[in-house]
């Protein structure tokens, strides 16, 4: 019966229902987008972190035992995830693969010119700096190349985006609570006569409150589903472009389990948000 009353209330005031669903949709659209951005950027950082992000080239006169001992000392630090030695021969193969379309370049380069190297992958991106410091003081190392700038820029962008996202979501949640509260308040004052009569004929406080609270939860759920659907469709639409932009980074295809999990979490949050905001209004207006 209470559910029936709730649905009737929604049907009888479509504009208020539209406004409530709109603000909830907007809130969950932003939540979904920022979730995609944060999960995506975290995958990009993970990708770079898991890649051999630092390469140390050895001098030609370097002895194998010195290289081996350097490898061992690096492996013994807790900061290194893996160390891969690339010999002069392997370096030539890589060079040939990279320049297979230019025979002139292939003719000019021999195994002797190319240095041997180690590709080091760090446990944490922050450890690259200290690994770099260890290598630069070593006498057999001629040059060090690493993507410190790319990763640190990406990390700071991700942190900034996270903060903006959290800030925006907090603002939208507060706005949603206020708007939902106002809408519930308007509905209560429109139904003042009904409420008065129901109280006089023996309705308990909860019998009167519950339809308003369920209505808030309903708007929350519908808003969450719409917000999620818009964000997911946009992501799906933008996937081909993003895929070519991100190239080797294994983000696509997006896992449907991840999307369904996100929807589930958003629905739970939406129920809590809708219930909470309408409950506040009910307490305020139905004293």
């Amino acid at each position: 019966m209470i559910l029936k009353t709730t649905l009737k209330n929604i049907r009888r005031s479509p504009y208020q229902a539209f406004a409530a669903i709109l603000i909830m949709t907007l809130t969950f659209l932003v939540v979904s987008f920022f979730t995609f951005i944060l999960v995506g950027s975290s995958l990009v950082i993970n990708y770079f972190e898991s890649k051999p992000t630092l390469t140390a080239f050895f001098k030609n006169e370097s002895k194998d035992e010195d290289i081996k001992s350097l490898e061992e000392s690096l492996k013994n630090t807790s900061k290194v995830a893996s160390v891969k030695f690339v010999s002069k021969k392997e370096a030539l193969e890589i060079y040939r693969e990279q320049n297979k379309d230019d025979p002139l370049l292939l003719d000019l380069v021999t195994e002797d010119i190319l240095p041997s190297s180690v590709e080091i992958s760090a446990v944490n991106i922050e450890d690259l700096e200290s690994i770099h410091d260890i290598l630069k003081d070593n006498t057999i190392v001629s040059d060090i190349v690493y993507q410190k700038d790319v990763v640190s820029t990406l990390t700071s962008w991700t942190n900034a985006l996270r903060q903006i996202g959290i800030g925006l979501i907090v603002v939208l949640v507060v706005v949603a609570i206020f708007i939902m509260g106002i809408i519930t308040g308007v509905k209560i004052s429109q139904k003042k006569e009904d409420i008065e009569i129901m109280k006089l004929i023996g309705a308990s406080d909860w019998y009167i409150r519950l339809p308003f609270i369920l209505e808030g939860a309903f708007y929350g759920v519908v808003g969450a589903v719409f917000g999620w659907a818009i964000a997911s469709s946009s992501l799906w639409y933008a996937s081909p472009y993003l895929k070519s932009f991100l190239e080797d980074i294994p983000i696509f295809p997006i896992s449907s389990i991840f999307l369904l999990e996100l929807l589930g979490v958003e629905i739970v949050i939406a129920i809590l948000l809708g219930t909470f905001s309408s409950f506040l209004a009910v307490l305020r207006y139905l004293k």
């Binding site: 019966m1 009569i197 006089l200 004929i201 023996g202 308990s204 019998y207």
Partner: protein, 237 residues
């Protein structure tokens, strides 16, 4: 069944709505509560339904001390009392059927049973043919019957009717009183507030008269009869 003892009600303005009022209404009685406008008739009803709390005194309804009744138990009390409000309090955006079924829905009665009960009560008050109409489509008397049907649908042991003939022509007013008497015969205790002298005089019922919040007369049916025969005895108990 209903006992008001030394009940006073002082409003925020400092005026007394009721002053030291003693009324006892027994089970199955039909009582006319009379008095001029502002005498305190509606205040008595509001006190019995715990819409208001008395400033002093005690009120017992069906063995429930309603002054001490916890707030959460008020709905329980109100389900025992059917009220026909002075301003009817009919919801204009609902059909007659939807208005009458409301107390049953509030009480959580199953839909089938509730519909059956509404059907029965609408037949009893004589507006079954209008059940799907909206209040604006009904006459004053039919609306009054709707209000009575809503008050009766829960089969309450007590019915309070506040000026149920207020805006009706005399013929319809008598029809409404006849309906209430019929309901009373089936065991419902009824208190009907009215200032219509003609209705009160023509029915041989107990009359409780208030004036400025005080009890000035309490005439039993026999005394009422005697009065019609010329006696002016007043029972002040």
């Amino acid at each position: 069944m209903i006992r008001l003892q030394k009940v006073s009600k002082k409003f925020g303005t400092g005026e007394f709505g009721l002053e030291s009022l003693d009324i006892f209404v027994d089970k199955g009685e039909f009582v006319f509560l009379t008095g001029r406008v502002g005498a305190g008739k509606t205040t008595v009803f509001k006190l019995i339904t715990r819409e208001l709390l008395p400033t002093e005194g005690s009120i017992v309804v069906d063995n429930l001390d309603i002054v001490k009744l916890p707030y959460g138990k008020i709905p329980h009390l109100r389900k025992k009392i059917g009220v026909v409000f002075q301003d009817l309090k009919i919801l204009m955006d609902r059909t007659i059927f939807e208005n009458v079924i409301l107390p049953l829905q509030v009480a959580g009665v199953k839909e089938k049973l509730a519909e059956q009960k509404v059907q029965e009560v609408l037949e009893k008050v004589g507006i079954i043919d209008h059940k799907d109409k909206f209040p604006v489509q009904l006459s004053g008397g039919q609306l009054q019957r709707t209000a009575i049907a809503r008050a009766l649908v829960m089969s309450p042991p007590i019915l309070l009717a506040d000026e149920p003939t207020g805006n009706l022509d005399i013929e319809t007013a008598f029809e409404i009183v006849a309906l209430l008497q019929e309901i009373n015969k089936q065991g419902t205790t009824i208190i009907m507030a009215t200032h219509n002298k003609e209705i009160v005089d023509k029915n041989k019922k107990r009359i409780v008269t208030l004036h400025k919040g005080r009890l000035v007369k309490d005439e039993s049916p026999s005394k009422n009869e005697e009065k019609k025969g010329g006696s002016k005895k007043i029972n002040d108990s």
